[in-house]
């Protein structure tokens, strides 16, 4: 087969460019090409994301009227239940305030500054669970900052470009978070699994954990703030011959359909160490 000169020259240029990029990456030198490509591609991703319908919108177009009525009824019931819960929680909050005042309790829980960001893409390599957001170093983002949603923990910033950043989700197999079961206070290590599930390992055998228990961040390791919801246990695996038990979790946040996230910009990992020292 005879190759034409035009494509052959471009292929050689691309390969040389890629090789130099690879060498810069391996040497750990700041790569100006990376910033340039990210800056050019981020607006394109944003536009592609804005004009294309989400999977939810596509499936929503085929929902019948009867199904919508049922969903509305269920939503109304849920609102009524939530209103009742809010009233109870407000009562509890007032009681809590009064008890705090009586005990002269020092409020040590820090308040976090949140920066909202839009999800403009996902990692094109499907084996990896990473998101790309439309905020970068120009917005003050730094590697390691925790990323959350109202429902709970999402992940942390793993790479920052000028106008965009990459977020490693908690479901990525390389991610690990120290967690604690809310009800039993059992601790363990929550790791990502392929297929958008999480596995909590190294839970002491004698601890009682059940399906439906909520798992929170423990704050150990100072990577994430304490008390963020990670997920809910859906399966417990316990064998007498093992030293530890294992639980499968479903993340509290639907990580597949995320459209916007919030980055905690003022979380300092030393803050937890100071609190522990106090």
């Amino acid at each position: 087969m005879k190759w034409k000169r035009g494509p052959a020259i471009l292929i050689i240029i691309l390969c040389l460019l890629a090789f130099s990029w690879f060498i810069l990456d391996q040497l750990g030198i700041s790569n100006p090409l990376s910033d340039l490509v990210s800056t050019i591609i981020a607006p394109l991703q944003y536009s592609a994301n804005a004009i294309s319908p989400t999977p939810g919108e596509i499936s929503g177009a085929f929902v019948s009227e009867e199904s919508l009525r049922e969903q509305l009824r269920a939503a109304e019931d849920e609102i009524a239940q939530l209103r009742a819960q809010i009233i109870l929680l407000q009562e509890a909050e007032l009681e809590n305030e009064s008890l705090r005042e009586q005990l002269d309790y020092k409020n040590t829980s820090p308040s976090y500054t949140l920066l909202s960001a839009e999800v403009i893409g996902k990692d094109p390599v499907g084996e990896l669970d990473y998101l790309i957001i439309d905020r970068g170093s120009q917005d003050g983002l730094q590697v390691g900052m925790p990323v959350v949603a109202p429902e709970g923990l999402i992940g942390r910033v793993s790479q920052v470009a000028q106008a965009s950043s990459r977020i490693m989700l908690i479901t990525d197999p390389s991610s690990s978070v120290t967690g604690i079961v809310q009800s039993s206070r059992s601790s363990g290590l929550v790791e990502g699994e392929t297929g958008h599930y999480l596995v909590m390992r190294y839970i002491p055998q004698e601890d009682t954990i059940t399906e439906g228990d909520v798992v929170l961040t423990s704050g150990l390791g100072s990577v994430f703030p304490k008390g963020l919801v990670i997920g809910q246990i859906i399966e417990v695996s316990r064998q007498d011959i093992d030293m530890f038990q294992t639980a499968t979790l479903v993340p509290s946040v639907n990580l597949f359909d995320l459209e916007s996230v919030m980055v905690i910009t003022n979380f300092d990992s030393t803050m937890l160490d100071e609190l522990e020292e106090e």
Partner: protein, 174 residues
């Protein structure tokens, strides 16, 4: 037959590669079927090699791979080598075995997807990423191979349409 295939402007190949990479990382990556994600770049590479010239398909794959590498957390070069290998495999099979045999096209897409995934996983493993082999094969690679092989039918139709239009535009021999 191979020499009759029309070539495309190389710069257009580059531009289409960039557009495909942007689409793959934004809209397409949100479409998950049975845990697998369709790979429009890979399917386009196979269609391009089948209906057009191999070097154009390779150039498209490399430019799309370059952008994917820039956007991905995988080690740089993973996508480029995976798409290039898939394009070369598709070209070799197309050139030697399957000339004109339509069913072979779907076999090419399936094999190209397997090769692509193997190369990506090896890059991830070499780059220090945690690779859960069994989990990955069962929950991601097998669904992706099935989705790409079936989804390639749509790309085949588009390729056929473009080829027929180009043939209709050519002046007659007589």
């Amino acid at each position: 037959m191979m020499e009759d295939r029309a070539s495309v402007n190389p710069l257009l190949c580059l531009l289409l590669g960039v557009i495909a990479a942007v689409l793959q990382s934004s809209w397409v990556s949100r479409v998950s079927i049975l845990g697998g994600v369709p790979n429009v770049i890979l399917m386009t590479v196979c269609v391009w090699v089948w209906f057009g010239r191999s070097e154009d398909g390779l150039l498209f794959g490399l430019s799309a791979g370059f952008i994917c590498d820039a956007l991905s957390a995988a080690p740089f070069g993973a996508c480029m080598t995976a798409f290039a290998a898939a394009a070369l495999l598709a070209g070799i099979i197309d050139h030697n075995v399957s000339d004109g045999f339509t069913a072979a096209f779907f076999g090419i897409v399936g094999l190209a997807t397997v090769l692509y995934e193997i190369i990506i996983v090896i890059w991830l493993w070499a780059g220090g990423h945690t690779v859960l082999w069994g989990d990955l094969i069962l929950n991601y690679i097998i669904p992706s191979v099935i989705i790409n092989t079936l989804g390639a039918g749509l790309f085949y139709l588009i390729g056929t349409f473009i080829t027929l239009r180009k043939q209709a535009q050519k002046p007659g021999i007589l």
